[in-house]
Amino acid sequence: MLADIFINPWIDMVEAPDFLLQVLWEGLVSGILYALIALGFVLIFRSSRIFNFAQGIMVVFAALTLVGLHAYGVPAWIAVALTLGVMFILAVTIERVVLRPLVGQPDIILFMATIGITLFLIGFGEIIFGGENKQMISAELGIPTGDTVLEPWGGLLILQHLDITVVIVATLLVAALLAFLNFTQMGRAIRALGDDHQAALSVGISLQTIWVLVWFIAGIIALVTGIAWGARAGVSFALEVIAYKALPVLMLGGLESITGAIVGGLMIGILEKLFEIYWGQPLLGGNTETWFAFVLALIVLLFRPQGLFGERIIERV
C-alpha cells in the first residue's frame, strides 16, 4: 500500500517517459484554459470587487452564439466579429441592468447577482440555441485538426495541432492583455481601480466605462476559451462545469493577481492530471479531478492564507 503511494507512481513515470510527457502535455493544455477563465475572474474582481460566477456561462454563451450565427449562414470570421458584438452588448446590459443598481452592496449580494445572471443566461441560451451538443466550426476558423506524432525514447507522443494552436493563441492573448493593462491609459486605469477607486477616477475615466470594458474583455476571453474547449469537446451547456476549475486557480493564485491566475492555472492543470493518472486511478477509483484542485488549493491556503501570489495580510485595529 505504502509502496503504491510513495514509490510505484515514480517508477511508472520513469518507465514510460513518453506517457509521462503525454500526461504533462494534456495537463498543460487544460491548465492554459483554466488560466484563461481565471483571468476573466481576476480582471472583473480587480476592477469591481465582484466575484463573477457567470464567467463560466459566458464561455458557453459566446461559443453558442458563434456556432449559432454560423448555422444561419454567417461566414465564420464575420460570425466571430458579430459574437464579439454580442458580448459587448452583454457587458453593457449587465453593467446597466445589474451592476449599476447594486453599486455599494456587500460582496455576497453581487456574487449572488452573478449567479442570477448565470441562470438567466442558461435559460435564455437554451431557448435560442437549444440544448444539443454542437460542433465548433474549427475548420471554418482555420483551426488545424491534424496531429503530430513524436516518438521520444521509442515511445509515442501525440500532439494535436488543435492543442498546439490553443497554447499559442492563449499565450498571445495573455501577452496582449498584459500589454493592454501595462501600456494603455485604460489598462492602467483598470489596474489602478484595483488599488484605489478615487485614484482611478481622477484619471478621468468613468467607473461605468471601465466596468463595461472589463466585462467586455472578460467576454473576449470567454469567446477564446469557448472556441478552444468547443473545438476539443463540442459545444453544449455541459461546458459550464469547466468554469468551476477556475475557482481553485483563483484560490491558489490570489483573486487579484494576474500572474497568480496564469501560474495557478498551469499548476492545477498539470498537477491534477498527474495525480489522477498516477494516484487517483490506481488507488482511489479515478475521477479525482473533480476535487483534487480544490483540496490542493485548500491545503496551500491553510499555510498561506493569502494564496501563492497574494501579499501578506497584516491585520490592524
Partner: protein, 432 residues
Amino acid sequence: MNHFTKLAAATLLAGVTAGAAMAQELYAPNLSYRTGPFAATGIPLMNGQADYLAMLNARDGGIGGVPINAEECETGYSTEKGVECYEKTKGAAIVTQPWSTGITLQVLPKTNVDNIPILAPGYGFSPMADGTVFQWAFNMPAGYWDAADMIVQYMESEGSLDGKKVAFLHLDHPFGKEPLPVLEMHAESKGFELVPIPVGLKEMQNQSAQWLQIRRERPDYVVMWGWGAMNAGAITEAVKTKFPMDKFIGVWWSGHDADLKIVGEDGAGYKSISWSFPNMDAPVMAAIKEHVIDAGNTMSNEEEMQGVFYSRGVVISAILAEGIATAQAEYGTAEINAEQLRWGLENINMTEERISELGLDGMVPPFSTSCANHTGHSGGWMLEWDGEKFVKASDLLQADVAGYQALLAEKAAEYAESNAPWPTNESCSAMN
C-alpha cells in the same frame, strides 16, 4: 401581491378541472429531457416518440378510436425534477415513462402503491425483467444485461477473450453501473480482465484522463456505457488517442448519429449494439412523413429522422401503442386504465408479422412479453458507423438469458427484500 395569489389560485383551479376533463383521451405522459447535458440524446428520441403518436392520432384518431395525449414533462434528466413530474402526472396517467435509470429507480417503489406501469424500453433496472417481483415495470424489448451479454458474444466472435483486457468506460451514474454484474460474470468465466473506467458527470466533455488511462492499460476492447455529451467526448478522444475504432463498442444509447458525425470518417468502425434500426423505407416512416411532417406538426427535421435515435423513439411509442391495443382487445374497451394497460404490456407479442403489420419492417426484432418476463429479450443487431451512417454489422444477436437468469432472480429478490414490504405477483406462473 394580491394579484399574484389570485393568479396562482386560478391556475391551480384550472389544473384541477383540466384533469377532470381529460377522460376522453388516453393520457400517456412522457418525462422528457430536451434540456440539460443529456439533451443531445434526448431530443431525437422524444421527437420520434411524439411523432409516432401524433401520426396515430392523425391517421387513426388515436388507438381504438381514442386519441393519445402524450404530454411531455421536462426533467432535464434530473432525478429530482423527474420525481416531481411523476407526481404531477400520475393522477390521470395510464403509464409513466421515466426516461432515466435514476428516475426509474425512484419511481419504481411508488408505482406499486400508485398502480401505474413504468415503461422503460431499453433502460432502467435490469432485474425489472422479473415480472413476478416488478409487477409494474417493463423494459422491453431488451435490458442492459442483454446488451452486455450480446457485446461479449460479439467480441468473442472475433476470437477467444481468454487473457484479453476489456476496458469498461461508463458514466459514473446508476445507468453506467447497470451492466457490471453481467460483465463481471463473463470476465470470470471467459477469462478476460475487466477494467472499469468511470466518467464523472462533470468530466463528460473532458475525458482526457480516462483516455490516458486507456492508453496506459492498452485494452483489447473498449466497451462504453455512455449517455448524452459523454458519447461525443469519448468518441473524439478515441480518435485523438488513435484507439482502433473497430475495437470500440457502445451500448445502444451510445450509438447516436450526431455524436459520430463530429468525427465523421475517423469514426468508421465504431460499433454500437442496438434493438432498433432506422429504416426510411418502412411504411411507418412514410405515414409519419405524410401525417406529421408534411402537416408541420413536428419538432424534428429530415436529417434527424434518418438517425438511429429518432427511429428508436418511434419504436418505443409503437411498443406502448401495441400494449394499449392489446389491452383494449382484452378488456373490450377503448378507454383503458393503468391496470388494464399493465396487462396489455405483459402480453405483447411482436412477431415478424405483427411488426410488418405495424409498418415497422426491420426497425425492431421480434419479441414477446409475459407476466413473468417483462423484458422480452428481443436480442439486437451490432451496428457499425461507416463514416456517414450506422449500418448493420451482424445478424440478429440473441442474449443468452439463461446464463444470468439466476442472477436476475437473485437481484430482484434482494431488491424486494431491502424494500420490504414489497408485493410480489405469486399468481404469475399460473397465469403464464
